[in-house]
Symmetry: D2
Subunit: 345 residues, 4 copies
């Protein structure tokens, strides 16, 4: 079985493992107060062109979202999010467990618009009984979205402007940020993201790390006491240098973007193979996730050799499925899949 | 100005005030451990034909919903609710502040169906990654709904059966239960409600009391330690007998249903007056709330004499508004409104 | 049985009931947006000499504490409190349910000192791993304390200075504030309390109201969105005017202090009667609560005629009990108790 | 600088790194549904002689405590704990953030007794107003304690009996369990712990793993939906096999106990070196943590070569400090420290 069901099937990029091995018996201070974390922070500040940013390393995405959101909101406040947003559907209610409502706005492609956000705020503040409702108080985006779609620089900039107008911190979930940055359709740089957002995270788990997400806080008002929140959520890794070492490796010599670029190229090869068979896509993704719409027999023709994720049943005999590539996908496996798409469907 | 904007504009039914006055200087134990509460509990058990039920008195609806829901759910569980449900929109995120997601299902008229609930559970348990999602674990209904619509005996019975099949406690919010019971379209008795639901509350605030809601717990598994939850939510009134005295009065000599019946009759008079002018209604309510759809000039023709609530702007020059009657609405005021509807619109 | 076990045994002061009766069928806006609340707010601002203060009316003490504390703290912060403080022992974990640790400091008499608070902050900020610990971020006092003891003007002023030095909002729980203000040992005025504290509440439940506590916020930074928090906690009374009417009555013609003064005088009569029999006191209270230390036979000699609260068993055959007077205690009942103390003990 | 300040200074045992390296590019299912986790679970079940136990792998201790406690308690319930317990002092209020009070009982050596627990429950249930207080509903122990002290088999068995009498699940935090099991003073086996406790965890982070804690649930009532809680707390590692691989390695060929035994032997060498200089200890620890009481000059005599943790200032010119060994401490470094203790103090 060749697996394409998600982008966390393997361990870590070999450079990372080597680095862990080389430093294994060194003694360093715990909880991120070690030189590797310090160096990694400085590399990330450089990549974002934000020497003033605070950078913190956490372990996984759900945890990171919970820490960031709980550090920002007061109890009566909620977070605006596309209805398909990860915090709304796939985090077991972690935001609510922290006391906050996810204010989910309908979205066809997984993206919010500046207009959606403004309308939500207007509705709230126009209501005479507004204190009976959860106050919209921050915005959550994911880039790329859970559907592989991308915000353009113009879109993100518009959203940022609306957020600033209404006083809403803007938070971007970058679990797969590398695959966005490496997409041929992307026109957003890390430094533009850092300018538009008050806080965002750069995902490591899905791009070559064993685990790890790097939170970048650019808004000074949001920096205060962030480490208490990390600790309270059980997200302060005792051997914190493991995170520093991994991000140091990823942000040395452009490894992060390089391995993501390879993954996206293979995903687009797969996309083309499907498209050439006349197969259409549920979401228009130019990132490492592809969502072809298959008939049952097409699905069966691939499922003995390849694993992929069910996404949804269209009810008309067609099914949306997801194929993911990652930094670890081999050209050979991707090519074999393309051939079987061409040959079997 | 004659006010119809809501059903909590006045104080209490005179019988209640008299009772408070007559007993004012008696000394009784606090926190509901007094003979008036005991008597009121026994009257309510009788009215529900559930001698085994636990009855607790709380102060208001938002508080009652928060206490009941937090007493039932574990942290990873959510409450199924119509998207228009009070807990989803008008309680400032009290359910989320208690740690739980409201699993809002779309609803045109404010009601859930047995099928909606079953489908929600099926979707959850069919998913291989179900632990990434909030587990549906109880159902919240309001009777009448926030829109004045009513569950029939058959509908409630179907919902109850689905809830039992999936192991979901069924909770009914009866903030305006009296106006449902007194509706000519109602076919549900208090004892049927008590049979179908695991827990529900009988609203006092909107039906003659200064304040107060009576929670009735019929499912023995949900009775345990309920008073701790009341206290933790700041809902254990020190002078608890005030609640006992009010519900004792309401459940003596059928006062509760009698005053609600009067209010519903006046609401239906108003309904007829609108209907006779060709005005249609946003929700098909036969309870104390009426939702006519008015053009701007119709709205203005009434607004100098009467207050009523804006509900929504249909965007085509028409507006939905709400007129409420209550136990305190006088026949004279309702009749005057009817005349002005006939005369001015 | 003549009851002295607590100070919420009766209903309301007759002037309050009369006022409720006189206004009963008036129609007013809900949720505190009525003229009675507005007038009561203005009277309280006047009594505190703080025309700039925000005043909100809530229903009970546990609820008020929960709302105030949750409106101030971020998730990693805790509230400093004497170990005997009401929030630490008698609110069923309401503060913790809101997500916060009560940082309880040992106290013999129920009072905190400026030094205790400073030391707690110093310990916290000196620790290199401070983010592993809950951050002290506000201070909770009760005046009088749960033990009837009083902060002097000098003590409160010192505490206030320390709080300002460490950036801790100071919150004073005035559930029995009237009985403190009316004590012969008191040297603190309402306006001094308002100057020293960032937020405090004036208790109504135990001083003539059916229920109700008036929160006074003097620190502008703590005013923001307070009504959302009230609503979220289910503490926004639908018929809010009931609270306005009660506080309007209490703060008209000095009724609040007058009835509290009567209660304290009777409590001190009882104190003297015990003292004249050589009976000592567990706490040195000059307020409406008295804590004599009785031997079993003394206790039994009174318990057939009077009810009072057990407080603690000293383990040497002696027991601490509590006698409370209130605005409703009659001179006749207090005198009879004094006589029986003199005659039977 | 040779570091003894804690037991998480280095990376992982070389066998673990090798295993990660060997399996790095294999593709496996995420979130713990892989064969390595399955094998590790089976090894742990075997070591505990509990084929029926549920075993879950989490990342760190604070997180594990939060997940376990929130999976057990209802909102009005608290967890009994020694005042020095990790959850009470060093987890930034994670338990309270989950809504629960830590019911801290005073303890001189970090241990609870069966009598303490029984007395706490008795006090609670004897109180007529018990619902005003947090209900004791589970017990948290750490073995070894934060002070290096150990429960004997008899003590744990007594505590377990009391817990069962009062219906309190017993939870044991085994962050350093290996160093307890390997202590010459220990008389408790893993299988006895599994019999006495309802749930406990076996710490990996401090014993050879990069990170990881294995939760063992023996009480069937506590197994339900545990994975939802893990996910909600952001504790479900995407590449879950990393945890499986580590525990598989530790529980193969007795590696876990062997490396802990080495660490304890070195700690006891250090203990003897201090003792021979007449230095006494703040806690009587026979595990990998040692707490000598040093005068300032003694402290300075070591601090240029060795790092160790400040513990507390006794106020009489003496200081308690902590020296830790771990699986990674070399005999050479420990011997050098012993020599310097003998030579310099």
């Amino acid at each position: 079985m060749i697996r394409f069901e998600n982008d966390y099937l393997e361990g870590a990029h070999p450079d990372i493992l080597k680095r862990l091995l080389d430093t294994n018996l060194e003694q360093t201070a715990g909880y991120g107060a070690d030189p590797y974390c310090e160096h990694a922070r400085s590399l990330i500040r450089g990549a974002c062109r934000r020497p003033d940013a605070d950078v913190h390393f956490l372990i996984g995405g759900t945890q990171t979202n919970a820490v960031v959101i709980s550090s920002i909101l007061r109890p009566h406040q909620g977070v605006i999010c596309a209805s398909t947003g990860h915090i709304n559907v796939h985090e077991s209610g972690a935001v609510e467990a922290g006391g906050h409502k996810v204010l989910a706005l309908p979205s066809a492609d997984g993206k919010l618009t500046a207009g959606d956000i403004a309308a939500c705020c207007e509705r709230h503040y126009q209501d005479g009984d507004r204190e009976h409702m959860v106050q919209p108080a921050m915005v959550y985006l994911s880039q790329p979205t859970e559907n592989g779609t991308l915000y353009s620089a113009a879109e993100l900039s518009d959203i940022s402007a609306v957020c600033r107008r209404y006083g809403l911190p803007l938070y971007l979930d970058g679990a797969r940020l590398s695959y966005g940055l490496a997409s041929p359709r992307n026109d957003l740089s890390l430094s533009q993201i850092a300018s538009c957002c008050d806080v965002f995270y750069i995902g490591g788990t899905k791009t070559g790390a064993l685990f790890g997400e790097a939170v970048v806080i650019t808004n000074p008002a949001l920096k205060r006491d962030f480490r208490y929140l990390i600790k309270q959520h059980g997200a302060l890794l005792a051997k914190g240098r493991l995170l520093g070492l991994q991000f140091e490796t990823l942000f040395t010599g452009d490894l992060y973007l390089k391995i993501a670029g390879d993954a996206v190229r293979l995903a687009l090869d797969i996309r083309r193979a499907f498209a050439e068979k006349g197969i259409s896509f549920y979401y228009d993704s130019y990132t490492n996730q592809q969502f072809p719409i298959l008939r049952r027999e097409q699905l069966l023709a691939l499922s003995d050799t390849y694993s992929f994720s069910p996404w949804c049943d269209l009810g008309d005999g067609r099914y949306v499925v997801r194929f993911c590539t990652s930094w670890a996908t081999t050209a050979q496996n991707a090519e074999r899949l393309c051939e079987d798409i061409r040959g079997r469907l």
